[in-house]
């Protein structure tokens, strides 16, 4: 039970902490304000409380697919916000004062959606076992260990990103956001496949031999980059398409920036 709790909580916390670390590193590198985080955190608390209260009705909605669909929707929203962050970040370098506000809004939106989904998952898991006396200690201890490991990785990633040479920080953050965003889309596609909102297609390959999907590494790779050992053509297309979309957002930001500067 302890190891299950560690894996489940670590998976969720790691996803959030990696995302927030990358956004924080971008904020520091672009010399922006941390207001977005101060805005996102209280809103997350409200959103998680609302989520918890409406959990029963949400689960029963859409023929029992409500919770999965809401989770998938939140993940897609995170991806959209990240694409906007990459687009705007390219412009911030040129006109920081104008772009700081939209940047803060998109960062807050990405953080809010990601944290709401992940905190809700953890809340559902922990409250599910809170009444079971024989499992309570293991679940709480496992959750605490998982959360601490996840936060520690986030803190160290932030330090690593900050220690990069100034000109490398933003490109590395963009690359990480592309992978995290694509991972979110991948996870949402799996959720929608589970509830038959997307067709189950034939698998393209099986990489369980290399990294088992159920192993700790597999679970963590799933959490951060949406690793799937037996992906379908649709999933691979979605993943690559998402990465391509982030690259396009970066390129569009560059082109629009050059046009505006030239004008």
């Amino acid at each position: 039970m302890l190891i299950n709790s560690v894996v489940l909580v670590l998976r969720e916390v790691l996803e959030a902490s990696v995302l927030i670390s990358v956004l924080l590193a971008m904020t520091v590198s672009l010399r922006l304000s941390l207001r977005w985080l101060l805005l996102a955190l209280p809103l997350t608390v409200v959103a998680v409380v609302l989520f918890a209260f409406s959990l029963d009705s949400m689960t029963d909605a859409l023929d029992g697919a409500g919770q999965e669909v809401v989770s998938a929707l939140l993940q897609v929203l995170v991806f959209v916000a990240l694409v906007c962050v990459v687009f705007v970040a390219t412009r911030v370098g040129r006109s920081a004062s104008v772009m700081a506000q939209p940047m803060a809004i998109f960062m807050a939106l990405a953080t809010l959606c990601a944290l709401t989904r992940e905190c809700s998952e953890i809340l559902i898991y922990i409250t599910g076992f809170a009444t079971s006396e024989e499992h309570r200690t293991a679940v709480f201890a496992g959750s605490a260990i998982g959360a601490t490991i996840g936060l520690s990785v986030g803190v160290l990633l932030y330090a690593a990103l900050n220690s990069l040479p100034e000109r490398r920080v933003i490109p590395v953050c963009h690359a990480l956001l592309a992978l995290i965003g694509a991972g979110m889309v991948m996870q949402s596609s799996m959720l929608l496949e589970q509830v038959d909102w997307l067709p189950s297609a034939r698998q393209l390959w099986d990489s369980n031999v290399l990294v088992n999907e159920q192993s700790l590494t597999g679970q963590l790779l799933y959490a951060v980059f949406g690793y799937e050992a037996t992906p379908s053509l649709l999933q691979v297309s979605l993943y690559l398409g998402s990465v391509a979309l982030v690259v396009c957002a970066w390129w569009a930001g560059q082109v629009v920036g050059s046009t505006v500067d030239a004008a």
Binding site: I3, A141, T148, V155, A159
Partner: protein
């Protein structure tokens, strides 16, 4: 994270937690595997005991005490000879010897099959979830302290990092708390290797600054001597020439006025240099600002009577801490400006008051005043309003005032006076500070 201490503590706690928790998880998994092996051995022993009991004719009822947690079957050639209460009628798994898992009675079971002589097969089973629970309880006892002691280790890291950064804090305190004119070398007791270079560089910078200030100070005093002497000689010569010329000769009048202006300018430049906040060594003492103003206004009186201007002093005693000589220069300059820039018969009022326990000096006049957009610029050196050379001012008076205000940690503001001209307000700190 702008604090080195916070940064180090967060990073160290994160790294420490990550490594120790991953190690704890590894330990947990290894311990669980060992516990499983131990429980498997016990299961094998149970099958031995069952075989022995069967061989010796002892009732196997003794094996059937752990109600619902343990099950067994004894088979021979497809016939169930003996079974625990609640075990299924069908065989629990196949009859090949070894450990495996089986599902029956709504639970998952860990089973062990023992093949004995005369084709008798003994199968013992234990509920897997309970085995796991027992093992986990034991292993958890070794993991939990790590979790519970994490805040203590974080506190220790906080204290140790603070202790390690003490030389840096000491250096920072020494630099922060020293007076602005104290350029003596900083001394840190047993400085760490990383700080030696910084301390050396700082001390070298202080030494160069002290030398530069000393040179500037010496230049001011030398310049005072070198400029005053020829001016005095010039004045004597003009006096002698005056004896040979008819009284009121215009050329002589102009020459005298020029020498006077130069004399004033030299004195102002020297005052400006002497009152520089970085160079001056002010001699602070407790004084009454009102009494000081009385002395200065009395001395300045003749300057105002020439233009029929009215100079008045109002207010009450205001104790404060300050350098009397500098404060006299300050008020003298303000009055000098008022006398110069105000027209004939103008009114000039000096007032001293206490506002919320802080002494305030105010000089108001009914002159032309200063437009709001030019008020900040009057403190610049050689700035004269409108850039006119019409007045006899050097453009240094207000710069000297600003220097003396800074030396006294006071605040100056220029406002519209109720007399219609300029109002100067100087807010001094309280006497105790």
């Amino acid at each position: 994270m702008n604090s080195i201490r916070t940064y180090l503590v967060v990073m160290l706690v994160a790294a420490f937690s990550l490594v120790s928790f991953i190690a704890a998880l590894n330990g947990y998994l290894s311990s669980m595997r060992e516990a499983e092996k131990l429980l498997d051995k016990q299961l094998a022993h149970a099958s031995d005991i069952l075989r022995l009991a069967r061989t010796e004719g002892i009732s196997s009822r003794v094996m059937d005490q752990r109600d619902g947690e343990f099950a067994f079957q004894v088979w021979r050639e497809g016939e169930l000879l003996l079974a625990s209460e609640g075990s299924p009628a069908a065989p629990i798994g196949d009859f090949s010897e070894g450990y495996r898992y089986a599902n029956f009675s709504g639970y998952r079971w860990r089973t062990y099959t023992l093949q004995a002589e005369n084709k008798t097969v003994f199968v013992v089973a234990e509920r897997a979830d309970l085995r796991h629970l027992v093992a986990e309880k034991v292993v958890l006892e070794s993991v939990l302290p790590l979790l519970l002691w994490l805040p203590v280790s974080a506190l220790l890291v906080w204290l140790l990092v603070g202790w390690g950064l003490r030389p840096l804090r000491e250096l920072s305190n020494q630099i922060n708390t020293r007076r602005s004119d104290d350029l003596s070398p900083v001394r840190v007791r047993r400085p760490p290797r990383e700080l030696v270079q910084l301390i050396d560089s700082t001390n070298s910078l202080f030494a160069r600054l002290a030398a530069a200030f000393e040179r500037e100070k010496q230049f001011a005093s030398h310049a005072a001597h070198e400029l005053r002497t020829p001016l005095s000689v010039l004045k004597v010569h003009l006096h002698n020439i005056a004896a040979d010329l008819p009284p009121g000769a215009p050329a002589l009048e102009h020459a005298n006025a020029g020498v006077e202006r130069m004399h004033h300018l030299v004195e102002q430049i020297l005052d400006l240099s002497r009152t520089h906040p970085e160079l001056i060594q002010a001699k602070f003492s407790e004084l009454d600002l009102h009494s000081l103003c009385q002395r200065v206004t009395a001395a300045a009186w003749p300057r105002f009577t020439g233009k029929a201007q009215v100079l008045s002093l109002e207010g009450s005693p205001a104790p404060m801490s300050g350098d009397p000589a500098l404060l006299e220069t300050l008020l003298g300059n303000l009055l000098d400006n008022a006398a110069k820039y105000c027209p004939r018969e103008a009114e000039i009022r000096v007032s001293v008051s206490m506002e919320d326990g802080y002494p305030v000096l105010a000089v108001d006049d009914s002159g032309p005043g200063i437009p709001a957009h030019e008020r900040q610029r009057v403190f610049e050196r050689f700035y004269r309003m409108g850039g006119s050379g019409g007045s006899s001012g050097s453009g240094l008076g207000m710069s000297i005032v600003a220097h003396i205000v800074t030396v006294h940690s006071a605040r100056i503001e220029l406002v519209d006076s109720d007399l219609g001209g300029l109002g100067v307000r100087i807010h001094f700190p309280a006497a105790s500070s």
